[in-house]
């Protein structure tokens, strides 16, 4: 008997945009995306629609193209009811314009030697999953965020740096003002490049690279650097990596995966104390390669699932950032470009513009320099940790890693 299932996302984004210090546009985006799925006889018909459509038409279209029905020899989930609402407030369009004006007013008055572009946004999103087997899931989230790019008036470059944040509820402006003061206050002071380069940054792009290596299909095919190393200690004792849907900065995540599966406690440990515990797999990969099904399918509305949709988080240290630094300096990269890893896992980063930080104060801006890293060492012998506290430079958790000056 056919089972009908609907995945949907409704997103509303309001943005106040500034260019070269001036208000440029107020924008609103309102989109609805739906994926209608009809499971029958080991196959699934899919209709992915962007825009309004009736459920009747969506399911009819999912069944209308039998040639495109995809093999899917799995039973959809009978998950029951659950909802999660992470919203803390809604910001009206007028409030957003006022907040943007207030924040821009602060940096324009205090830092006239810079030119600023950027945006202030309020984003609301509702995700849902329903099927004939009783699954009725929904998740609501909303964030307020700012993204500012700056250019010093004497610079020959298009832009010299940027900062930004997301939060679920606008504060009194102190996060923005503190961040602006840290990035801009000592920008004109040129500091000396320290002998030991410790990078301090948000780690999402770094662990994003690790995700491909932990994809169970890549592990099975031998196309991962970690093939054959599940169960082995490969990284630092201090390094634990989780797919964590409970993290407060997991903006717009869903507690279910692309196949409607829900993890116990909404978490999956992938690497623990440097030991690779498991790759991540959806149902297809788990069955095909005989590996654990880790309930980590991406939300692929247009097609059958694939492994993905991770919210990778590094477990925090018990120590603060300052304690982890232990009197050393950290480099905050602002404008940088990294090479892709070569076949040996080596990569080089050109840091065109960065700030020197002692864990509390910015000491100045550093001239351009280069560092090199190795894939294993970043989370291995060069890994220092993720502090127990958030950095005011990012209003978020940060990683500290040692690198080699080139």
């Amino acid at each position: 008997m056919a089972v009908k299932e609907k995945h949907s996302t409704h997103r509303i984004i309001s943005t106040m945009a500034y260019e070269e210090n001036k208000p440029k546009a107020f924008e609103r985006v309102n989109t609805v995306e739906s994926s209608y799925r009809v499971y029958e006889d080991g196959k699934v018909g899919i209709c992915y629609n962007i825009g309004e459509i009736s459920d009747e038409e969506g399911f009819a279209r999912a069944q209308a193209d039998p040639e495109r029905a995809r093999p899917y020899p799995f039973t959809p989930e009978a998950g029951g009811e659950r909802s999660r609402d992470k919203r803390e407030c809604e910001v009206s369009d007028r409030e957003l314009m006022d907040l943007a004006g207030e924040y821009m007013g602060y940096i324009l008055e205090k830092y006239p030697q810079f030119t600023f572009s950027g945006s202030f946004s309020e984003e609301r999103c509702k995700f849902s999953l329903n099927n004939d087997l009783g699954t009725d899931y929904s998740e609501n989230d909303a964030t307020f965020g700012a993204r500012i790019m700056f250019k010093h008036k004497d610079s020959r470059d298009i832009m010299d740096g940027g900062f930004g944040f997301n939060m679920r509820k606008p504060d009194d402006g102190s996060v923005f003002r503190t961040m602006a003061d840290l990035y801009l206050g000592q920008y004109e002071t040129i500091a000396e490049i320290p002998d030991e380069i410790i990078l301090c940054m948000q780690y999402y792009s770094l662990v994003g690279g690790l995700a491909e290596e932990l994809n169970a299909e890549n592990l099975a095919l031998g196309t991962s650097r970690l093939t054959g190393k599940v169960g082995e200690k490969v990284f630092s004792e201090e390094f634990t990596l989780e797919h964590d849907l409970t993290d407060k900065e997991a903006w717009f995540s869903r507690f279910w995966d692309g196949e409607g599966c829900v993890l116990p406690d909404d978490k999956l440990v992938l690497i623990e104390n440097g030991v690779i515990k498991t790759g991540f797999a959806d149902k297809r990969v788990a069955q095909k390669y005989g590996v654990p099904h880790t309930k980590t399918a991406g939300h692929n509305y247009g097609d059958t699932p694939f492994p993905g949709g991770l919210n990778l988080r590094i477990r925090r240290s018990d120590k603060t950032i300052k304690e982890l630094l232990g009197g050393r300096f950290a480099v905050i990269p602002m404008n940088w470009t990294g090479s892709p890893m070569d076949s040996k896992g080596e990569l080089t980063i050109v840091i065109s513009s960065s700030l020197l930080w002692d864990g509390e104060r910015i000491l100045g801006r550093l001239p351009e320099f280069r560092v090199s890293m190795n894939f294993y060492d970043v989370f291995g012998k060069e890994y220092i940790g993720v502090g127990s506290d958030d950095s005011p430079l990012y209003h978020d958790k940060v990683i500290l890693i040692k690198t080699n000056k080139v």
């Binding site: 440029k24 470059d157 093939t227 892709p340 065109s352």
Partner: protein
């Protein structure tokens, strides 16, 4: 088309409607893992009152008038909006240019035609298996878009665009040291994708040889011969973004740096952008309704142009260039490149190599960036000694000063190619572009 919408008085407004269709099929090691056809349609509605834009994006095409009226309520009526410098510049064009109707419209192409092409490449390029290849994908697909544009000044434009593409990609090497390589190809129909089998296999064998024999480069400064695809990356990333005028409007330092008529490169260097070429950056009209044209950014080493939307053109008292683009109907447009290329010269590739006593041949790069210090991430390089290409070299990156490197180009080849495999990112928007150029020689780049 006339009279389709009622535009509010004493404001400038425009409506951009996009109807899109995507197809993508992919086999991974013989298993069909992607098979999708997606329809997407929506509109961006904009109102400008002389101070600010008010925009909204919607999927509900029957509510465009309602959205337009709502935006007009937010804006302040301005009786002299017609005298606004940017509004005055905006062109009024009326044309219907639909080139992809009929049986070869993507919506009408039977899935079986794509499957045939995909299975052909699977048979020709993945069988028999090669031990150095750990994994492969063969993909085919396409995108079709019909765009309509209406403005309160009277523009009524409808045009379409279609690109069919395919690709074969391999992951080589085991022992925890994988590397990816392959080929992508383009056409107007699925059948156009045929005929690239030998190129794909040659590329596969090049990567196998590279992995077996490459040695680490000794970091330093080298004379570099850039392949056409590397030149394309340089022209787009390292120079092209600096020709986008929206970053310099109120910036005297950058306006001085990029003064028209200034010598910015060596004599053989000429760089052009044109949206009217039938390539991946094809936009016969931009998202303000401006007709595409050829803009020479550098001519014989002299700065002769830059890319504009109506605001930047008005601010700098220059002409429109047709470069105002948005990623899609969810985004407002900004100044973007289209098809950007470094013009071909007269030297043959063989002569350039033969004339290089000591250097590096950069065959392939993964990506690049364009700050004052540009960076290109190389994947496959070779040592040049005594005018001959020698052993393969593992290189991480090539860097240089854009301002200096344009002067350091001393040989420009005749082997021009325009590559359609690019998308370009700027301020979180990605647009399709092409980039091109011939082989060039640069006297000095920093290699590591």
């Amino acid at each position: 088309m006339s009279g389709k919408y009622h535009f509010p008085e004493n404001l400038y407004s425009d409506i951009r409607i996009e109807e899109k269709y995507f197809v993508h099929l992919m086999k991974l090691n013989g298993e069909l893992v992607n098979d999708k056809a997606i329809a997407d349609s929506g509109a961006l509605i904009r109102v400008y009152d002389g101070n600010m834009w008010y925009t909204t994006s919607t999927n509900e095409l029957d509510k465009i008038q309602e959205e337009l009226d709502g935006l007009a309520e937010l804006a302040s009526r301005n009786e002299s909006i017609g005298e606004d410098p940017a509004v005055r510049l905006l062109e009024v064009n009326r044309e219907v240019r639909l080139q992809f109707e009929g049986e070869n419209n993507l919506k009408n192409i039977a899935r079986a035609r794509f499957v045939d092409v995909m299975d052909h490449y699977v048979a020709e390029c993945t069988e028999p298996t090669v031990p150095e290849v750990n994994s492969w994908t063969v993909s085919v697909g396409g995108e079709y878009m019909k765009k309509s544009f209406y403005s309160s000044k009277g523009s009524e434009i409808v045009y379409d665009y279609q690109m069919i593409s395919g690709g074969v990609w391999y992951t080589f090497g085991g022992n925890g040291q994988p590397m990816n390589g392959g080929k992508q190809f383009f056409g107007a129909t699925p059948e156009d994708l045929s005929g690239h089998e030998q190129e794909v296999l040659a590329e596969r064998d090049r990567y196998i040889d590279f992995l077996a024999n490459a040695v680490d480069v000794e970091p330093g400064e080298y004379t570099c011969v850039l392949s056409p695809i590397t030149t394309a990356m340089f022209a787009h990333e390292s120079f092209g973004h600096k020709s986008e005028a929206d970053f310099m409007l109120n910036d005297p330092v950058l306006r001085e740096e990029w003064t028209m008529g200034k010598k910015v490169g060596s004599d053989p260097v000429s760089i052009c952008d044109s949206g009217d070429l039938p390539n991946h950056g094809y936009i016969p009209y931009d998202d303000e309704g401006t007709k595409a044209r050829e803009t020479w950014l550098i001519t014989d080493g002299v700065l002769t142009g830059r890319l504009h939307d109506s605001f930047s053109a008005a601010a700098l008292s220059e002409e429109l260039t047709g470069n105002c683009r948005a990623q899609d109907y969810r985004n407002r447009p900004m100044v973007r490149m289209t098809n950007t290329f470094l013009k071909a010269g007269k030297d043959s590739f063989e002569d350039i190599i033969a004339d290089t006593k000591d250097g590096i041949y950069v065959y392939m790069v993964a990506n690049g960036t364009g700050s004052a210090t540009f960076v290109m991430n190389a994947t496959v390089c070779y040592r040049i000694r005594d005018g001959k290409i020698c052993e393969p070299l593992r290189v991480h990156m090539l860097t240089g000063s854009v301002f200096q490197t344009l002067f350091d180009i001393d040989r420009v080849g005749s082997d021009f190619e325009l590559f359609d495999s690019y998308t370009c990112g700027k301020r979180n928007q990605s647009v399709r572009v092409s980039a091109g150029g011939p082989s060039i020689r640069v006297r000095k780049l920093t290699v590591s």
